[in-house]
Symmetry: C2
Subunit: 110 residues, 2 copies
Protein backbone atom coordinates (compact mmCIF):
# COMPACT_ATOMS: atom_id res chain seq x y z
CA UNK A 1 0.00 0.00 0.00
CA UNK A 2 1.29 3.41 0.93
CA UNK A 3 -1.75 5.66 0.92
CA UNK A 4 -3.02 7.04 4.19
CA UNK A 5 -6.05 5.21 5.58
CA UNK A 6 -7.92 8.48 5.85
CA UNK A 7 -11.36 6.87 5.92
CA UNK A 8 -10.50 5.02 9.11
CA UNK A 9 -10.34 8.20 11.12
CA UNK A 10 -12.83 10.88 12.12
CA UNK A 11 -13.34 14.04 10.07
CA UNK A 12 -11.97 16.09 12.89
CA UNK A 13 -8.82 13.99 13.10
CA UNK A 14 -8.29 14.22 9.35
CA UNK A 15 -8.90 17.94 9.29
CA UNK A 16 -6.43 18.57 12.07
CA UNK A 17 -3.87 16.35 10.36
CA UNK A 18 -4.26 18.29 7.12
CA UNK A 19 -3.68 21.58 8.91
CA UNK A 20 -0.67 20.26 10.79
CA UNK A 21 0.77 18.65 7.69
CA UNK A 22 0.54 21.95 5.84
CA UNK A 23 2.76 23.47 8.53
CA UNK A 24 5.10 20.50 8.37
CA UNK A 25 7.67 22.10 6.10
CA UNK A 26 10.17 24.83 7.01
CA UNK A 27 9.38 26.81 3.85
CA UNK A 28 5.73 26.95 4.80
CA UNK A 29 6.56 27.96 8.36
CA UNK A 30 8.75 30.68 6.85
CA UNK A 31 5.89 31.87 4.64
CA UNK A 32 3.54 32.13 7.61
CA UNK A 33 6.17 33.93 9.67
CA UNK A 34 6.75 36.37 6.84
CA UNK A 35 3.05 37.08 6.43
CA UNK A 36 2.85 37.78 10.15
CA UNK A 37 5.90 40.03 10.03
CA UNK A 38 4.75 42.27 7.20
CA UNK A 39 1.48 42.58 9.07
CA UNK A 40 -0.55 43.21 5.96
CA UNK A 41 -1.56 41.52 2.78
CA UNK A 42 0.13 43.43 0.02
CA UNK A 43 2.91 41.00 -0.47
CA UNK A 44 3.91 40.42 -4.05
CA UNK A 45 7.43 39.51 -3.12
CA UNK A 46 7.17 36.29 -1.16
CA UNK A 47 9.33 34.54 -3.74
CA UNK A 48 12.27 36.86 -3.01
CA UNK A 49 12.02 36.13 0.69
CA UNK A 50 12.56 32.41 0.29
CA UNK A 51 15.60 30.37 -0.76
CA UNK A 52 13.54 28.42 -3.28
CA UNK A 53 12.65 28.72 -6.95
CA UNK A 54 9.44 30.45 -7.95
CA UNK A 55 7.50 27.30 -8.94
CA UNK A 56 8.40 25.68 -5.62
CA UNK A 57 7.18 28.69 -3.65
CA UNK A 58 4.01 28.75 -5.69
CA UNK A 59 3.43 25.12 -4.83
CA UNK A 60 3.93 25.72 -1.10
CA UNK A 61 1.53 28.65 -1.24
CA UNK A 62 -1.02 26.43 -2.91
CA UNK A 63 -0.74 23.84 -0.16
CA UNK A 64 -1.17 26.43 2.57
CA UNK A 65 -4.19 27.75 0.70
CA UNK A 66 -5.73 24.29 0.25
CA UNK A 67 -5.30 23.59 3.93
CA UNK A 68 -7.09 26.83 4.79
CA UNK A 69 -4.17 28.58 6.43
CA UNK A 70 -3.81 31.44 3.97
CA UNK A 71 -6.07 33.29 1.55
CA UNK A 72 -5.10 34.74 -1.80
CA UNK A 73 -6.87 37.56 -3.61
CA UNK A 74 -6.12 39.57 -6.68
CA UNK A 75 -4.93 42.98 -5.65
CA UNK A 76 -4.05 45.02 -8.68
CA UNK A 77 -0.70 44.02 -10.15
CA UNK A 78 0.12 41.06 -7.98
CA UNK A 79 -1.73 38.60 -5.85
CA UNK A 80 -2.27 39.41 -2.24
CA UNK A 81 -1.79 36.59 0.21
CA UNK A 82 -2.66 36.72 3.85
CA UNK A 83 -3.26 34.58 6.92
CA UNK A 84 -6.59 32.78 7.03
CA UNK A 85 -7.55 33.20 10.65
CA UNK A 86 -10.16 30.46 10.49
CA UNK A 87 -7.61 27.73 9.87
CA UNK A 88 -5.43 28.92 12.69
CA UNK A 89 -8.41 29.03 15.02
CA UNK A 90 -8.99 25.34 14.40
CA UNK A 91 -5.47 24.29 15.27
CA UNK A 92 -5.33 26.64 18.19
CA UNK A 93 -8.42 25.12 19.74
CA UNK A 94 -6.81 21.69 19.48
CA UNK A 95 -3.79 22.88 21.42
CA UNK A 96 -5.97 24.62 23.95
CA UNK A 97 -7.65 21.26 24.44
CA UNK A 98 -4.29 19.59 24.88
CA UNK A 99 -3.23 22.17 27.44
CA UNK A 100 -6.46 21.81 29.36
CA UNK A 101 -6.04 18.06 29.58
CA UNK A 102 -2.42 18.32 30.62
CA UNK A 103 -3.14 20.82 33.36
CA UNK A 104 -5.72 18.72 35.14
CA UNK A 105 -3.86 15.49 34.64
CA UNK A 106 -2.76 13.64 37.76
CA UNK A 107 0.97 13.29 38.13
CA UNK A 108 0.84 9.53 37.97
CA UNK A 109 3.38 8.84 35.32
CA UNK A 110 6.74 9.46 33.69
Amino acid sequence: MGASKTHSFTNQQNELAILAKALGHPARIAIIEYLLKVDTCICGDIVNELPLAQPTVSQHLKELKNAGLIKGNFEGVSICYCIDELGFEKIKSFFQDVTLHLEKRKNNCC
Copy 2:
Protein backbone atom coordinates in the same frame (compact mmCIF):
# COMPACT_ATOMS: atom_id res chain seq x y z
CA MET B 1 15.58 16.61 -6.54
CA GLY B 2 13.04 15.76 -3.87
CA ALA B 3 14.75 16.19 -0.51
CA SER B 4 13.74 19.10 1.67
CA LYS B 5 16.17 22.02 1.63
CA THR B 6 16.37 21.94 5.40
CA HIS B 7 19.71 23.74 5.59
CA SER B 8 18.21 26.82 3.94
CA PHE B 9 15.96 27.55 6.89
CA THR B 10 16.52 28.49 10.52
CA ASN B 11 16.72 25.91 13.28
CA GLN B 12 13.56 27.26 14.78
CA GLN B 13 11.69 26.93 11.48
CA ASN B 14 12.92 23.39 11.00
CA GLU B 15 12.08 22.40 14.55
CA LEU B 16 8.56 23.75 14.26
CA ALA B 17 8.10 22.01 10.93
CA ILE B 18 9.22 18.69 12.43
CA LEU B 19 6.71 19.04 15.26
CA ALA B 20 3.88 20.00 12.90
CA LYS B 21 4.76 17.25 10.47
CA ALA B 22 4.60 14.69 13.26
CA LEU B 23 1.00 15.75 13.88
CA GLY B 24 0.29 15.67 10.15
CA HIS B 25 -1.31 12.25 10.09
CA PRO B 26 -4.73 11.28 11.44
CA ALA B 27 -3.35 8.19 13.18
CA ARG B 28 -0.91 10.31 15.12
CA ILE B 29 -3.61 12.82 16.02
CA ALA B 30 -5.66 9.85 17.21
CA ILE B 31 -2.76 8.59 19.33
CA ILE B 32 -2.34 11.98 20.99
CA GLU B 33 -6.07 12.26 21.60
CA TYR B 34 -6.12 8.79 23.14
CA LEU B 35 -3.20 9.58 25.43
CA LEU B 36 -5.04 12.69 26.56
CA LYS B 37 -8.26 10.76 27.12
CA VAL B 38 -6.83 8.02 29.28
CA ASP B 39 -5.19 10.77 31.27
CA THR B 40 -2.33 8.59 32.40
CA CYS B 41 0.61 6.70 31.04
CA ILE B 42 -0.18 3.06 31.58
CA CYS B 43 -1.28 2.37 28.08
CA GLY B 44 -0.19 -0.97 26.72
CA ASP B 45 -3.14 -1.15 24.37
CA ILE B 46 -2.68 1.66 21.94
CA VAL B 47 -2.59 -0.84 19.09
CA ASN B 48 -6.13 -2.01 19.86
CA GLU B 49 -7.39 1.56 19.78
CA LEU B 50 -6.29 2.16 16.20
CA PRO B 51 -7.49 0.76 12.87
CA LEU B 52 -3.94 -0.10 11.83
CA ALA B 53 -1.63 -3.07 12.09
CA GLN B 54 0.80 -3.29 14.98
CA PRO B 55 3.96 -2.47 12.99
CA THR B 56 2.29 0.61 11.56
CA VAL B 57 1.25 1.85 14.97
CA SER B 58 4.73 1.20 16.27
CA GLN B 59 6.12 3.29 13.44
CA HIS B 60 3.75 6.19 14.17
CA LEU B 61 4.67 6.05 17.85
CA LYS B 62 8.33 6.21 16.90
CA GLU B 63 7.75 9.32 14.82
CA LEU B 64 5.88 11.07 17.60
CA LYS B 65 8.71 10.13 19.95
CA ASN B 66 11.42 11.37 17.58
CA ALA B 67 9.61 14.67 17.18
CA GLY B 68 9.48 15.05 20.97
CA LEU B 69 5.71 14.87 21.33
CA ILE B 70 5.54 11.69 23.40
CA LYS B 71 7.82 9.83 25.76
CA GLY B 72 8.11 6.07 26.19
CA ASN B 73 9.34 4.25 29.25
CA PHE B 74 9.46 0.63 30.28
CA GLU B 75 6.78 0.04 32.85
CA GLY B 76 6.77 -3.61 33.85
CA VAL B 77 5.12 -5.80 31.25
CA SER B 78 4.48 -3.24 28.55
CA ILE B 79 5.88 0.08 27.50
CA CYS B 80 4.33 3.20 28.90
CA TYR B 81 3.80 6.06 26.51
CA CYS B 82 2.76 9.53 27.46
CA ILE B 83 2.58 13.11 26.23
CA ASP B 84 5.86 14.97 26.21
CA GLU B 85 4.79 18.37 27.44
CA LEU B 86 7.98 20.05 26.24
CA GLY B 87 7.20 19.41 22.58
CA PHE B 88 3.69 20.73 22.94
CA GLU B 89 4.96 23.83 24.71
CA LYS B 90 7.07 24.64 21.64
CA ILE B 91 4.20 24.44 19.21
CA LYS B 92 1.88 26.24 21.55
CA SER B 93 4.22 29.19 21.83
CA PHE B 94 4.28 29.42 18.05
CA PHE B 95 0.51 29.66 17.90
CA GLN B 96 0.45 32.15 20.74
CA ASP B 97 2.81 34.22 18.64
CA VAL B 98 0.52 33.90 15.64
CA THR B 99 -2.47 34.96 17.71
CA LEU B 100 -0.63 37.94 19.13
CA HIS B 101 0.31 39.13 15.66
CA LEU B 102 -3.20 38.65 14.34
CA GLU B 103 -4.80 40.53 17.19
CA LYS B 104 -2.79 43.67 16.76
CA ARG B 105 -2.88 43.58 13.00
CA LYS B 106 -4.52 46.47 11.26
CA ASN B 107 -7.56 45.60 9.23
CA ASN B 108 -5.97 46.69 5.99
CA CYS B 109 -6.53 43.62 3.90
CA CYS B 110 -8.68 40.77 2.70
